[in-house]
């Protein structure tokens, strides 16, 4: 029998953000990444366009992240104390689309590195890999307000993705992105109204919407992922209805959140009812990613190579055309 399928006609679409720049474009990247551009709900190819697939940025830290789970650290044995080698491994060994570099050692309590040292780390990583870079600070506002502008200036032309701008602290980093032509991560705490408000504040300063990526702050699997899920979904629905102040591509710190969960970390000896830890942890991270892909995440920041591999396959499956 004929089935009259329902195809939504959407007025708006997600803006496209380009990260990285090749030699012709004034940078040194061998590839650039474009995210966004969707004119439908995630992966509903039958009623809209999804010109760019979601991408995976792998996390690299400029200090040995002792606190990380052993299984994640084991996957990077020998390179954890060397961000350059670590980044290379992510790109060559795991096919990371971007490197997400955290300059944690600038934190006064974790090394107190100078802006010059931070710039050197970023430059070294840029020299070692050809993929675009996202660079974020250590989370201490006063420190980040020094190091991120220094990185922005020294890497002008590379079209980096810099973070984080928050409601309390956005002026300095927005200015650095505008002057040196980089992209910005606007971070808000699981609240669609604050998200919209921050976008308005940033664009009023003069940074255009096509330079902004939204980090609406996700919760990991088991720990508030449903809030993130619904906020991303509402953001996408708002975008499709034409709300331009929500129409930016989205980023989620999947690895960071997923590996906080008890379920990802405790050993089988401690919790026999939860099964073997390695596989459980990997799936915890991968599923945090795939669940949020269904609500509209464009850029996934991940850690474990096996989790990355699972998510890459899921994205490939979901990017196949569909018709109804």
């Amino acid at each position: 029998m004929p089935v009259q399928t329902i195809k939504e006609r959407n007025a708006g679409k997600v803006g496209v953000v380009t990260i990285g720049a090749t030699q012709e474009q004034g940078g040194t990247r061998t590839s650039v990444v474009k995210i966004g551009g969707e004119s439908s709900l995630p992966f509903l190819h039958f009623e809209g366009e999804m010109p760019n697939k979601p991408v995976i940025a792998m996390e690299v830290v400029d200090r040995v992240p002792e606190e990380w789970n052993d299984e994640v650290k084991n996957a990077f044995t020998g390179v954890l104390d060397n961000p350059v080698a670590w980044a290379k491994k992510c790109v060559e060994g795991c096919g990371a689309d971007l490197i997400f570099l955290r300059l944690q050692s600038a934190d006064p309590e974790l090394g107190n590195k100078s802006p010059e040292d931070c710039v050197k780390t970023v430059k070294d990583v840029l020299a070692a890999v050809g993929v675009p870079l996202a660079v974020v600070g250590c989370g201490v506002d006063e420190v980040d307000n020094k190091i991120i502008p220094a990185v922005a200036e020294a890497c002008a032309g590379e079209n980096l993705l810099l973070g984080f701008a928050s409601q309390e602290n956005y002026n300095t980093i927005v200015a650095a992105c505008m002057v040196h032509k980089h992209n910005l991560i606007a971070q808000t705490p699981l609240d669609i109204n604050i998200c919209k408000q921050l976008n308005i504040l940033i664009t009023e300063m003069g940074l255009t919407a096509d330079k902004i990526v939204l980090d609406t702050n996700i919760g990991g699997l088991g720990y508030g992922i449903e809030y993130a899920y619904s906020i991303l979904e509402r953001g996408r629905l708002g975008t499709l209805q034409g709300d331009r102040m929500l129409a930016m591509p989205t980023l989620g710190t999947v690895g960071f959140e997923a590996w906080k969960a008890k379920e990802a970390n405790v050993s089988i000896e401690e919790f026999p009812g939860w099964g073997e830890q390695k596989e459980r942890g990997i799936l915890w991270e991968a599923m945090t990613a795939t669940a949020l892909l269904q609500s509209g995440l464009d850029l996934l920041v991940m850690r474990h190579p096996e989790a990355v591999k699972l998510v890459q396959k899921n994205i490939a499956d979901l990017m196949e055309p569909s018709s109804v």
Binding site: F43, L237, K260, G273, W274, M287, N314
Partner: protein, 444 residues
């Protein structure tokens, strides 16, 4: 589309007799529109109104039950496309496959393994839902023998997978009284399968190849039998997502009857990790049941967590009972942490406190299930309320000291809380993840 309260009101007797339990006919109409009551509560409603309302107020997706007694699971009866519009009500059921080629000790071991897929996390007990016996042998007697074993030993209800009506008939002879899901009726076998489903009054899965064939087949079957579950029969994930979306949209937005049933999906991958990832899409996107081969605890637990999360009612934050919880082998000198009774907040703190390996008490203040900062902003996590709860929860008898650790995010209440409660207040880390190192410095 469902009728509005006013549409329904026009068809009611307007006696305002209150016999339906509502104050007025209009109130009754409103309750009907919100699916909070049923039309049969009104003794005076006309036949004509019944017909109009029965059709229009019937749920867009039928509720179908599989299994009996404490093995019973409900599927379907959903009303929205997005959980933030209302809620998803009936969590996706997970079925784990068993091949009928397994016999004896191998079969027993498999059943044992599936029985073990029961988990405790964040204070809730959850489990898989069905054992799905597949007629892989192609032999009817072998199938029936395996089904009999599984029915006797498995703690979960059954899905019987065979397209051979003879095999299904034999399996139903041994397990038909357990209300298994019969999988499945196809274009070739549906007449015989419907007959079997009727004979044992079991739910029946109908599988077509794509939306049109499935709709056509459901039309034929539903003319005589309505306890159905549908399978659109697609293997490729993005196409399956498109079709799941359409079945849900058409049933809810257009009341398209052939799709007004719960949907069952099968994973297509061979590697269990890939399977589980594939299943995560089905959980988020409308599948009422998912059949998997993966059966390791570590593989199923993440799916359990996702299901719990996606099917949480967005309007009702989940809460823990407000009380003093002992974590580990506590003594009269153990430290005391205070937090709210929002499950997520409580279990995040609990995880870190138990991870710190230093036994402690956590007292969960009654904030109606909202988080620390929200509770503070809403006046539910204030020095007054915390003091009140310190007295009420009995912690003063449990410990000899009077030291209280508060979340770093509400450091501002320290002074007032000390004054009101008479306890010494220690400001803890603002993220629970900081608890282990905090505990080491302060209490080791």
């Amino acid at each position: 589309m469902a009728l509005t309260g006013l549409d329904i009101f026009k068809l009611l007797p307007k006696k305002n007799c209150k016999e339906c339990g509502q104050a007025t006919c209009l109130a009754f109409a409103m309750a009907l529109a919100a699916s909070k009551t049923s039309l049969d509560k009104c003794p005076y409603v006309s036949e004509e109104a019944k017909e109009t309302l029965g059709g229009a107020s019937a749920p867009p997706i039928k509720l179908v039950k599989v299994g009996k007694g404490d093995k019973e699971r409900e599927m379907g009866d959903e009303v929205v496309l997005f959980r933030h519009d209302k809620a998803f009500y009936h969590p996706t059921c997970f079925a784990i496959e068993i091949s009928d080629k397994l016999t004896g000790a191998e079969l027993d071991a498999k059943i044992e393994k599936i029985n073990g897929l029961v988990f405790e996390r964040v204070g809730q007990k959850v489990s898989v839902d069905f054992a799905a016996v597949r007629n892989e042998s192609g032999n009817a007697d072998t199938f029936a023998a395996a089904v009999k074993e599984v029915a006797a030993k498995c703690n979960f209800a059954l899905v019987l997978i065979s397209t051979d009506p003879d095999a299904m008939a034999k399996a139903l002879e041994v397990a038909g009284d357990t209300n298994p899901l019969i999988y499945c009726a196809t274009v070739e076998n549906y007449e015989k399968m419907v007959e079997l489903a009727k004979k044992y009054s079991c739910p029946l899965a109908v599988r077509g190849n794509g939306l049109e064939e499935t709709a056509a087949l459901v039309e034929k079957v539903s003319a005589s039998y309505k306890e159905l579950v549908i399978d659109v029969g697609t293997n490729q994930l993005s196409q399956a997502l498109a079709e799941l979306t359409q079945t849900r949209r058409l049933s809810i937005k257009k009341k398209f009857r052939p799709f007004g049933y719960p949907v069952i999906s099968f994973t297509s991958k061979d590697n269990p990790l890939d399977e589980v990832i594939e299943a995560s899409v089905f959980v988020a996107k409308y599948a009422s049941a998912v059949v998997l081969k993966a059966d390791e605890k570590a593989q199923i637990l993440p799916l359990m967590a996702l299901r719990m999360n996606i099917y949480t009612d967005p309007q009702k934050p989940s809460q823990v009972e407000p009380k003093a919880y002992a974590i580990g082998n506590v003594t009269k000198n153990s430290p005391v942490y205070v937090t709210t009774n929002f499950s997520l907040t409580y279990y995040t703190v609990e995880g870190e406190v138990s991870g710190s390996k230093i036994p402690a008490y956590i007292i969960s203040c009654p904030t109606d299930g909202i988080s620390v900062l929200t509770g503070w902003a809403a006046g539910k996590f204030t020095p007054d309320k915390i003091t009140e709860f310190i007295k009420a929860c009995g912690i003063e008898e449990l410990v000899d000291h009077r030291n209280l650790v508060i979340p770093g995010a509400v450091a501002v209440i320290k002074g007032a809380l000390e004054e009101k409660s008479g306890w010494k207040v220690i400001v803890g880390p603002s993220e629970a993840s900081g608890i282990p190192s905090f505990a080491k410095t302060h209490f080791a």
